[in-house]
Amino acid sequence: MSFYECLQALPRAQLQMSLYNATAADVESALLGCQGDLSGLLALLSPAAEPYLERMAQQAAGLTRQRFGRNIGMYLPMYVSNLCANECDYCGFSMSNKIKRKVLNHRELEAEMAVIKSQGFDSILIVSGEHETKVGIDYFASMIPDVKRQFSYVAMEVQPLKESEYHDLVELGLDAVMLYQETYNPITYQAHHTRGKKQDFQYRLESPERIARAGVDKIGLGVLLGLDDWRLDALLMGHHLDYLEKQFWRTRYSISLPRLRPCVGGIAPKVELTDRGLVQLICAFRLFNAELEISLSTRESTSLRDNLLGLGITQMSAGSSTQPGGYVSPDTELDQFEISDDRSAEEVANVMKSRGFVPVWKDWERGWRPTLSD
């Protein structure tokens, strides 16, 4: 049974009611241990957990330290294209937006990678808009060998692909795929995705299953917090994670918790997620899943990012640009969204060290898994 069928079978209204009817006793019980327990996750995501935030944070910090030590994995997104055949009302890349469109060619890619390398990164996230014909499997297959030659760990965040295509990219050196469902509410989803292949809720939802079957090492899930009721979306992401962990136990999982940010022609969040709410989310997921990787982008502010260190975050980007070619020519006219923390990677790393954390640049030896790129 695919997760699409599981999601259809879930009593959405009932879950939402349970979220808002959870009691202090439910939260207290979850705080006694709720690893792998979806009802515990529900309690910790509920409004009833808000008064327990400090206790959640203490426990989440302890679990994170026990599992990950003081390490924070450093990665950087490399935007390779802002071409997009979708219309998504929260995203600056939407096809109707009058922005300059660009796809990095081989020479431009090499130049971007040189800048990124010089900052110390060895883990990279290839990001593109979703344009299957111009920036599709052929483009990715032609560039990943070049990227893999320079970076030990190669992740991508692009349109969903076919299982055979993921398989081919794994052979070329792809390690991880980030693919965010944005929202688990199909009605909200349809309202925000009004044109293009991204309209297909089911195909996107079932993508992690294809990715896992293709043998990708790590899968990143995410919801765009603010599109819908974030508590329910986060809970359903927990269900998704639980499903995937049970079905595909060889795969590692990470989550991202991006909040809706202002962008060109974009919308305001329907349900605002406060800083306090974001902390609750991070801690709830840590208490639910001690091994889960949680990544935090530069969408969040400098001071918030610094204070979130240790609460559950395991991966961080720093010094990011969200436009193709942005590391070589850092202007911001093509940005997908606004960056809130614009410190350099070095500055962020220094803050980590001063707070007792270890920025980890290299965490994988590519020689262990030879690829066709070698």
């Binding site: 019980s29 006694l32 935030l53 206790r55 203490q58 049970k246 136990w249 902390v279």
Partner: protein, 257 residues
């Protein structure tokens, strides 16, 4: 209700046929245990004399027979025993046991996986007896085993759930029934396995070698029922002696104020 392959069981206590003083006691004990699945070693059956004292009485009852491959030292031997069992007993159910080590009778994970794959492909309902190894259990599930039977401690040792930590992981992960097999020496240990969420337990030595096997069989039946009910009712969580209401460390969320 417990379902393995296409068969539903009311009782979650499986038993065996070995170590009894006589066939009558064995039958009475099995009856007292209310068990509906009873394992027997194919190597013990006497096919030639036509007067097998284990098999004959059981064949007349409603109890499902689960032949086992005890004595097999590798996959090839185990597959042979399974085929023999199908031929002689007319069942395609097989408890796969491969122990090349005669001292502790530890199951061989590599040969077990090989034999399980072969037997599943041939259409057998395979219940493999294995160490409490979560990855091995997943691999066995992947090749098509109908259940997994991780051990609690060395077979016949009555040491209880020495592997509790790993049994919990297996129970958490398994998509097929988990039957804790081997090492359960007391009704309280059987109850503990059921409280953890095991789908069933297999107990033989503790019943058969008791001074009063019939009474002990009844005790195990009650313990298994109680353990299962407690699991379904939902056990309370264990907490530290006192819950700190205020943290001892510097607050981590003060920056939000």
């Amino acid at each position: 209700m417990l379902k393995i392959a296409d068969t539903v069981f009311d009782s979650r206590l499986f038993t065996g046929t070995g170590k009894y003083a006589c066939a009558n006691t064995m039958l009475a004990a099995i009856e007292a245990s209310r068990s509906q699945l009873v394992t027997m070693a194919m190597k013990r059956l006497d096919f030639h004399s036509g007067s097998d004292d284990i098999l004959r009485p059981l064949q007349g009852s409603n109890i499902k027979l689960l032949p086992n491959t005890s004595g097999a030292r590798n996959a090839q031997e185990a597959v042979f025993v399974a085929e023999l069992a199908r031929e002689v007993l007319g069942t395609h159910w097989i408890k796969l046991e491969i122990h090349p080590d005669p001292k502790y009778l530890m199951p061989d994970p590599i040969e077990t996986l090989k034999a399980a794959e072969t037997l599943c492909n041939k259409g057998y309902v395979v219940l493999p007896y294995v160490h409490a190894d979560p990855v091995l259990c997943r691999r066995l599930e992947e090749v098509g085993c109908a259940a997994v039977m991780p051990l609690g401690s060395p077979i016949g040792s009555n040491q209880g759930l020495a592997t509790e930590t790993f049994l919990k992981i297996i129970i958490d992960q398994a998509k097929v029934p988990v039957v804790v097999d081997a090492g359960i020496g007391t009704p309280s240990q059987a109850m503990q396995a059921m409280e953890l969420g095991a789908d069933a337990v297999l107990v033989n030595t503790a019943i058969a070698s008791s001074a009063d096997p019939i009474l002990m069989a009844r005790c195990f039946a009650e313990a298994v029922d109680t353990g299962r009910s407690a699991y379904l009712a939902g056990l309370g969580k264990v907490s530290a002696v006192a819950q700190h209401t205020s943290p001892q460390q510097a607050p981590l969320t003060a920056f939000l104020d």
